[in-house]
Amino acid sequence: MPPADSPSTSVPAWASPAIAPFARGRLRRLMPGLSFVLAWIILALAWEIGAATEVLNPRILPPPSVVIPYILQGPGAAGIGPQQVTYGEAIVKTLARVLIGLILGLIAAIPLGTVLAVVNPVRQLILPMIQTIAPIAPVAWVPVAIALLGIGDQSAIFVVFMGVFAVMTLATAAAIENVPQELIKTARSLGARGHRLWLWVVLPATAPSLLTIVRVNFFAAWMAVLAGEMAGINSGLGALIILGQQQFNMRLVMTGIITIGVLGFAIDRLILLIQRRLLWWEARSKGRTNG
């Protein structure tokens, strides 16, 4: 038996007696990744068994043994005529919309948020407006977007933009206001002024919050574009799912759902990686304290 006071790790108690200390250490390091894979395998197995025993209706929830080969073979073109959507095209369209909407949102939000934080009269005037726009669900803009811009990419980008712009503006203003006054005063007393003060002190001091804002709002943008694509912008991954529904092609629906999940997860990890690279000073000291 392992000692009662052994540090609680993710190694299950039943596994430890059998494993040599060396292997146990290695296992411990791999555990977060392993447990993640394990959880998916368990879910897929349960699903598979559920479908095989007809506890789950396999026509509504086609099991992984059906969906995974379907994805790998590349779901062919679905839909008819101008509504035709291919799998690869749908992914590219959705990703491009999210990316462009998010970047436009950032380009608008960071300067406006900065002005809101710094110029009080503008703040009095504009802040309530932004605060009113922020709680509007992005999908609510879909009818407006379609009426204004049609059912193309512009509409989707508009919806993403409206979904993230106001929240990012507020968060940028908050990030700048949260920079300690004393830090600014210290920098000023050391001779920093104007654009140097912003570039050398305010920007790096707000960078952690700004990157978190991007990461959180990527999710918002991702949700917004999918909702938009389902609610009338008839292309992209969201539309693919609706198409699957209309044709009662549940394999296509599951394909859409899994793709959304996997892509969302992968991009979030990518942003996290970029965040760690850019905020090297935070990553480094974390490494030190752990090592």
Partner: protein, 267 residues
């Protein structure tokens, strides 16, 4: 080195006077401690002297010339170290040189030399968060001294440190001060700190802050805390501070009640 002179300095924040009519001369190269209850505007005075905020009336002169904007002549250190988390110790220390447009090569050289002088060279490439509290504050002081300021302003620089570290830091500061030859003004709540370090101690009353007394301590440093001449000053300071704190803390009725109970005999 130059004399620092406050002339009739007052500061009003949104109708509330923070400091009123401060006239104070800090002789060139001397060490002055400002003591008073919280919220008596001592920090405000330092920030005015550093030209970080403007005085409502009055002015501050350095060597006869009014201070109008932050410059390399004055440096300020706060209670919190305010180090730039995203820079190494060496880059933090070199920050003042960078704003002056000094080349990277020379910045490295000068920051390195200063760090070697103060014994922090082994930590030059560490990040602020990898240092201890006392070490961070030493880096903050080194950063303030990199431009060889004539005046060093310190706002309770050691108050967030534990007692022993604070004592060590005070000795360290004395050494640095001899080295840097600057005129020092330090705000502190620690009476022992003021007595151990200062040439003159300036007592402030509470809101609005004004000077009530200036005490000169013509004793050599380092000083022995047990010195009988210091005991007298310490008692005097303690009475002043407790009286001011009581005035700020209690209402007139409470003070009257305390007096009836004989609790205010030494206030």
């Amino acid at each position: 080195m130059a004399e620092l002179c406050f002339e009739q300095v007052s500061k009003v924040y949104a109708g509330h006077p923070a400091v009123v009519d401060v006239d104070l001369t800090v002789p060139s190269g001397s060490f002055t401690a400002l003591i008073g209850p919280s919220g008596c505007g001592k920090t405000t005075l330092l920030e005015i002297a550093a030209a970080l905020i403007p005085a409502t009336t009055g002015r501050v002169l350095l060597g006869g010339r009014p201070i109008t904007r932050p410059g390399p002549e004055t440096a300020i250190v706060f209670q919190h170290h305010n180090l730039f988390e995203w820079m190494t110790v060496q880059d933090n220390v070199a920050f003042g040189l960078r704003t002056q447009g000094i080349s990277r090569h020379e910045r490295r050289l000068r920051a390195g030399r200063l760090l070697a002088d103060v014994g922090l060279i082994d930590h030059a490439h560490k990040l602020p968060r990898e240092l201890s509290g006392g070490m961070r504050q030493r880096v903050a002081i080194a950063r303030a001294l990199v431009l060889n300021p004539q005046v060093l302003l310190m706002d309770e620089p050691f108050s967030s440190l534990d007692y022993q570290t604070r004592r060590v830091m005070q000795r360290y500061l004395l050494a640095m001060w001899h080295h840097a030859q600057a005129t020092v003004v330090m705000v502190t709540h620690d009476l022992d700190e003021a007595i151990a370090l200062a040439d003159q101690i300036v007592l402030f009353s509470g809101s609005p802050g004004r000077i009530v007394e200036t005490i000169h301590i013509p004793l050599k440093r380092p000083r022995q805390p047990e010195d009988s001449r210091l005991q007298e000053i310490r008692t005097h300071l303690r009475h002043h501070l407790e009286k001011e704190v009581a005035l700020g803390e209690f209402t007139a009725a409470e003070l009257e009640a305390l007096r009836r109970e004989g609790m205010t005999a030494d206030l």
